[in-house]
């Protein structure tokens, strides 16, 4: 038992995590005919709290409560993992990535998110503006415009052999490559790294 707990506390390899994430697809279908998707929860939040008579948010969001509960569950999963299953050792980041990021000014490679960027003290700085406010906005605007995110398109859509989802996923990746290689160096310099 102790060994099992020890093992669970280690970071899980991709061939354990990936299939478990994939199993969410049949789990939600079998439980209640629900298609896996997460960014829709952001839309439901708008429909529930700030619909402002916008047609896009005029629908019965209460029927989609399951989706809200699903993301509340993801939040709680994060809490449980942090409290009981957390790995005390530092995150292992690929050597080449560490070198690249060190060149951009990142110094802290110990936690899941770099403390150089993701802390409250950066909120009202250019770092906060780009990494929290603009970054979040791009996620919310882009996923809704695309009609889904990594879960709804890349996993659910491609699993169901939908070519528009494949297309969307290709453009998720292109956007990510462009940001990482072409734009991020400028942002890092601009925000003062």
């Amino acid at each position: 038992m102790e060994q099992l707990i020890e093992w669970i506390k280690q970071p899980w390899p991709w061939y354990v995590a990936g299939p478990l994430i994939g199993l969410t697809v049949p789990a939600l279908l079998l439980i209640g005919n629900k298609s896996f998707g997460i960014s829709s929860s952001l839309r439901h939040a708008c429909a529930a709290c700030i619909p402002a008579k916008i047609p896009f948010f005029q629908y019965d969001w209460k029927k989609e409560l399951w989706n809200i509960l699903f993301v509340v569950g993801i939040f709680l999963g994060g809490v449980i993992a942090a409290l009981f299953l957390s790995n005390p050792a530092a995150v292992v980041v690929a050597e080449s990535t560490q070198q690249d990021l060190a060149q951009l000014g990142i110094t802290d490679f110990n936690s899941l998110l770099p403390a150089d960027i993701f802390s409250w003290s950066n909120l009202f700085t250019l770092k906060g503006l780009f990494f929290f406010v603009i970054g979040g906005f791009l996620i919310g605007f882009g996923t809704r415009y695309a009609g889904g995110c990594t879960s709804g398109h890349a996993i659910m859509g491609i699993s169901n052999l939908q070519w528009p989802s494949m297309l969307a996923t290709v453009f998720f990746m292109i956007g990510g490559f462009v940001m990482t290689h072409l734009i991020l160096p400028f942002i890092m310099a601009l925000v003062g790294f």
Partner: protein, 162 residues
Amino acid sequence: MEVKEKIPANPVECEAPNMGKSGESGWKLLRYLIVGVLFGIVFVKAEVISWFRIQEMFRLQSFFMYGVIGSAILVGMVSIQLIKKFGVKTISGEPIKIADKEFRKGQVIGGFIFGLGWALTGACPGPLFAQIGFGYSVIVVTLLSAIAGTWVYGKFADKLPN
């Protein structure tokens, strides 16, 4: 189709529609919370919520994220094929229905925009919730901004190319 009944004023696709016929309430809804909890734990334990993992992926310096997403798709694909082949029903006996995705320009433009945000924040919508739960409370700001982005899209949805 049910989606149209559900969103009468606006039949724009929802990527995670509720295709269930019977209404669900109370403890039945809790099942989704439980699936979410398990899912969130996997996210944290595989370190999928790490900004560094996403950087490794977009720098092609680690196979990890490709392995996670690839094997997730493979398992999802096999599951859906099995469900279709054997006409598997939900636990309450309904035939399983999955809406098709229709092509829209948004998948290209919006997809690209989301990709920019994904690399910048190191998170897609799912990991945002797990990051907050894990203790990165400042990500609440990112989440609120993502909701604002969704709202702005909704506000101008009919003016954007699609």
